[in-house]
């Protein structure tokens, strides 16, 4: 059984069908790409998969459990985490604390144990620090753990966002344009990191990307959206050579 199964997913805003009848399957451990021209509805798909929007048609299951229409909080707890196209960090918090917020639900000490500094507070805080630093190390951010998130350079903010999403220990990671605003060197490094995350954390990753080098380089399968509908689907090499896809990207 596939980890994520999307069945006929669609949403209407007023009269506009932003996404229509999207069906796709992502297997465990896969690196899957969702591509398409601007305004094709890619981020809208992410928003439905993470509960920001409730789909008007169809649904999706994670590990066989139907999640469409649930709240973002519930969906995250069920195992989907994401990053955002326009970075959404906790800008007034340190890099370390950003990741520690991601670890929030993995710990159990309650408000009173926290306020009165009971033993579980110290034990779990220490565990959180350790885990957060491990995650920061994956992205080479361990040297900046006390920096305010807002003072990080752009490319590193994107990485921190991924680290924070991973902290919630998801089964499926959604990356919304992770390479946006990066130079070719940074992108190359990011590709390595994404592959590393997949291998090391045994992660399934669905990503939206415009950088075709990155998509061609790491994605095993693709779905191409155009005007909210599936234009092509399948193995990366085949999809990228599909004349319809080329036409949609280059125009006529």
């Amino acid at each position: 059984m596939a980890l994520l199964e999307v069945n006929g997913l669609g949403i209407k805003f007023g009269g506009l069908r932003a996404v229509d009848d999207l069906t796709m399957k992502i297997n465990k451990g896969q690196l899957y790409g969702l591509i398409g021209p601007n305004g094709a509805g890619k981020t809208t798909v992410f928003n439905m998969l993470t509960g920001v929007y409730a789909p008007t048609n169809g649904g999706f299951t994670l590990d066989g459990e139907a999640l469409a229409g649930r709240s973002p909080i519930e969906i995250n707890r069920k195992g989907i985490a994401r990053t955002f196209q326009n970075i959404r960090l906790f800008s007034g918090m340190t890099v370390l604390d950003n990741v520690k917020v991601g670890l929030h639900n993995s710990k159990k000490y309650n408000v009173f144990e926290g306020i009165f500094r009971l033993p579980r507070y110290f034990r779990e805080e220490a565990e959180m620090d350790e885990r957060a630093e491990e995650l920061l190390k994956v992205f080479g951010l361990e040297g900046e753990k006390e920096t305010m998130a807002r003072n990080l350079p752009y490319g590193r903010q994107r990485k921190l966002e991924i680290a924070r999403a991973l902290a919630t220990d998801p089964k499926l990671l959604l990356l919304d344009e992770p390479a946006a605003g990066m130079n070719p060197n940074e992108t190359a490094e990011l590709m390595k990191t994404i592959r590393y995350v997949r291998d090391e954390f045994d992660m399934t990753i669905l990503l939206i990307e415009h950088d075709m080098k990155l998509v061609g380089g790491i994605c095993e399968e693709l779905t191409v959206l155009n005007f909210g509908q599936v234009l092509a689907q399948g193995k990366t090499s085949e999809v990228l050579n599909d004349p319809e896809v080329i036409k949609a990207y280059l125009g006529e």
Binding site: T43, N47, V52, F84
Partner: protein, 291 residues
């Protein structure tokens, strides 16, 4: 008869709220900010009028125009000094700043005029109108008349003139309007000027009905007019009119039939209920946050 009398009272008060609410709603629509100091513009307008009429013996008609000009200028000035630098700041920041401006105007008035309320002679000289045993005061007639004229004029201005359309465009999408060649700064200034001039008119009508002005005269009507704007749907001009009238009638009936002291509590209770049941107000539009 009492019912009719209270209805007229309510319409009278409601018209004043509607005029103030227009200022709130226009500014909110365009600058996306709650101008907490808007109520205090009423107070400035009332003082200006009172000083012009009783200290300088200017004729009432001209005094009203002076008061409108002073308030319009004040509106533009506060926007330029206090709000413009904060266009990209959080709503929290802007609201605190607006509270600061409100306090500034109140304490300035307190310094200049003292805490004692100043008597304001009514500038409305119209004779009351008697219909059978029922008497309609000149103030009521003028208030209702002026409000209707202003509403019509404002609606025409926004829908028919270039500046009015620019205001609509800026309220939809500031960035896009700018790209289409709309002068956003100018449009915002015009909005503040019109809103504040309307507040001056409201101040004139308010003090003509009540006879006094003090440093805090504007605060309560200001907050209630904001309630009216929210009730009608913030950002909506017909909503401000509707909200103002409804609120005026509720207040007037509460005072007459329930309790004078509890009238304010009832008005605020209405606000809370509206916001919980229909946060966009009666005629407001829903907005979705882009993720």
């Amino acid at each position: 008869m009492e019912f009719l009398e209270q209805l007229i009272n309510g319409l009278n008060l409601g018209s004043i709220y509607a005029l103030i609410a227009l200022g709130y709603t226009m500014v909110y629509g365009i600058a996306k900010m709650l101008n907490f100091a808007h109520g205090d513009i009423i107070m400035v307008g009332a003082y200006t009028l009172s000083v012009a009429v009783s200290t300088f013996n200017v004729n009432p008609g001209l005094s009203i125009i002076i008061s409108m000009i002073v308030c319009a200028a004040l509106g533009i000035l506060t926007e330029k000094i206090a709000y413009k630098p904060l266009r990209k700041a959080s709503p929290l920041t802007v609201l605190i700043t607006a509270i600061g401006v409100s306090y500034f105007l109140e304490s300035l008035a307190l310094l200049i005029f003292g805490s004692k309320q100043r008597k304001v002679a009514s500038v409305i000289t119209m004779k009351p109108l008697s219909i059978g045993s029922f008497e309609l005061t000149g103030e009521s007639i003028v208030t209702l008349g002026v409000t209707i004229i202003i509403m019509v004029a404002l609606t025409l201005f926004i829908n028919k003139t270039k500046t009015g359309k620019a205001m609509l465009a800026v309220s939809e999408d500031k960035g896009a309007a700018q790209l289409m060649g709309v002068n956003v700064d100018f449009t915002i200034s015009v909005t503040f000027a019109i809103g504040s001039a309307l507040a001056a008119v409201a101040g004139t009508l308010f003090t003509s009905s009540y006879g006094f002005v003090g440093p805090y005269t504007g605060a309560m009507p200001g907050i209630k007019a904001f309630v009216a704007a929210v009730l009608g749907g913030i950002g909506s001009i017909p909503g401000a009119m509707l909200g103002g009238i409804i609120l005026g009638i509720i207040e007037s009936f509460s005072k007459a039939y329930i309790s004078t002291q509890l009238a304010d509590a009832i008005v605020f209770g209405v606000l809370i209920v509206v916001l919980l049941v229909r946060p966009t107000g009666l005629l407001g539009k829903k907005r979705m946050e882009k993720v």
